[in-house]
Symmetry: C2
């Protein structure tokens, strides 16, 4: 731990700039707690940054250390209340020093002026390095019995927030939801289905693949797997959790959700070759009293909820979500999406 | 009050079928309270029914008495607690005898199975007649000092519900809204602006007309009038109340609302010549943590709120909303939309 460490860095905005290289030990300015990395999850945002289409480097630096889905072991807690050896995950977003009202009350996930920073994404180095530092108040304990599965905490916070918002918005009226349709069986969709089952709902999951691990993962939850169009599910779900961002599926979600229902959008998809019309969407929203809402990011509350939800899940099931593991030096291979991928992680030696 | 009365009837689904004719006195099965009509408001739904593109007649009847924006004077309260001479408005929607869970708890405005009925729209005669009957529990008292302005209660319930939902949905996070943009200065938009001003918000109203009563009505509220595109308002409003249903304006609303904001849709517009894309809409909903929700109809709670809001409004201002008054025999002229119209009413002799 002397003169440096290996890390994955990229020049944001420059395609092909990703490299695994020696960098200095993490600056103490990033936080009092020194953490040894155990694993880092890879998601679509990392791929976008690697392709040069997203991301910002820290002020004064060309390069950004990538990675925001963290898991590590405390090696030096500094003056914090953590113990050496505890497993922790770093919260991704930070409020601006001159915070908006939401950031000021700790709801930086709902930042209203866009002046936040994000570890590994926006203006602060991320977690794809042998070691990283974090402020004690932005480190969240995870059950060490989860082992490397603790790396699923950050994606779980996305659905923990979505569910919190669904429950809160649902209180606008009398509402006793029974059924949920999850669209897209990627990591967010499957973790969303997990939490929906934990909430006692009848859960349906729709994806385009007919084989591979997804149908089994859904069945193992006690949920029902579907392929085809949303109308073919034969159900007016009370809730739709749309995780693909594919506009045709957004439109089908709005068309098929129950009157008074809630459609939660978590995915940002590509523009479709044939654009779906916003007219039908807006008309149905009115006539069916629908809520359509988007959700991104998470605050401390969602990390704590997600940590409980992960700890309550079946370990074998969570293991199956991680379909590929690469070493830090092989991160390029990890970023190349493969058809069978659900969650790909970088696992430290 | 012997053998019959004048009423406006239509064969739903048949264009050109509207007539003003003699019909029997209202059946006592419609309610114990007999009411003498004072006025009935005309809205877009009435025009649609008159054009044969909406509406359902009562079971066993070909013709439906039109009219759902009511105001009348109690002439025979039956065994109800009303006094002769009180001013009342009839609630429009009724739950099905085999109600859905929402209807069962009195939230028929959020009916989840579509099996409701509506006075003057769906399977029950409306209020465009010299006299009508109503169940005591579906009659709402209005301040008699409002005079004929009480006919504005029903459209006010639409915005009372919208505001209740905005406030309730807003509690999903810390939220301290300061600014609202109302899109469309028709009756719903102007009544929405009135309530927003009553709530202490900074209110902006956008419409396409440059002259006529609308700019003055907005200024008289202490609100700010705009024409042009939504981006030209030069504001990221916390709330947008979209009252036109024009898809291009829905899209501009979503593009310009503040992150974490709420867009409420109350209008159902025509399909646009150039369709707006649902992709941009869905992407912005996610990245900005937006809620987009539609609102239609109202329950008893919204009638009571709206009655208080109307009673608190400036009478002169409300008078200006009613830009044209026709007699029952001239209802055809009232249904023909004219450029200067805001609210047109049928006023009884």
């Amino acid at each position: 731990m002397g003169g440096g460490m290996r890390a994955v860095t990229v020049v944001p905005g420059t395609a092909g700039s990703l490299r695994v290289e020696d960098v200095p030990e993490p600056d103490v300015g990033l936080g009092a707690v020194l953490v040894e990395a155990l694993a880092v999850g890879i998601c679509g945002t990392d791929a976008e940054i690697a392709e040069g289409s997203y991301g910002w480097s820290p002020p004064g630096d060309d390069r950004l250390i990538l990675g925001h889905e963290s898991l590590g072991r405390v090696v030096d807690p500094g003056a914090s209340g953590f113990d050496v050896g505890e497993h922790v995950v770093g919260i991704v977003r930070r409020p601006d020093p001159a915070p908006c009202p939401n950031c000021a009350v700790g709801e930086w996930d709902m930042c209203s002026n866009g002046d936040y920073t994000e570890r590994g994404i926006k203006a602060v180095d991320g977690f794809m390095a042998e070691r990283w530092r974090i402020e004690p108040e932005y480190a969240v304990r995870v059950d060490p019995a989860l082992g490397v599965l603790g790396v699923l905490l950050e994606p779980t916070t996305v659905v923990a927030k979505a569910w919190e918002q669904i429950a809160s918005i649902g209180r606008r009226t009398f509402w006793d939801p029974q059924t949920v349709l999850v669209v897209g069986a990627g990591p967010i969709g499957l973790l969303g289905a997990l939490i929906a089952v934990q909430h006692g709902l009848e859960v349906h999951v729709l994806d385009r693949v007919e084989a591979g691990p997804k149908p089994d993962l859904v069945k193992e939850l006690g949920a029902i797997y579907h392929t085809g169009g949303i109308a073919d599910v034969g159900l007016e779900p009370d809730i739709v959790l749309e995780c693909t961002g594919v506009v045709g599926l957004v439109q089908q979600s709005v068309a098929n959700v129950s009157p008074g229902g809630i459609v939660c959008l978590t995915g940002v998809g590509p523009a479709a070759a044939i654009e779906a019309s916003a007219t039908a969407l807006a008309t149905q929203a009115v006539l069916k009293n629908l809520v359509i809402f988007g959700s991104v990011n998470a605050n401390r509350r969602h990390y704590y909820r997600a940590a409980k939800e992960l700890a309550a899940a079946d370990r074998g099931w969570l293991e199956e979500l991680i379909t590929r593991r690469v070493g830090l030096e092989e991160v390029q291979a990890g970023l190349q999406r493969q058809p069978e991928d659900i969650k790909v992680i970088v696992e430290m030696a």
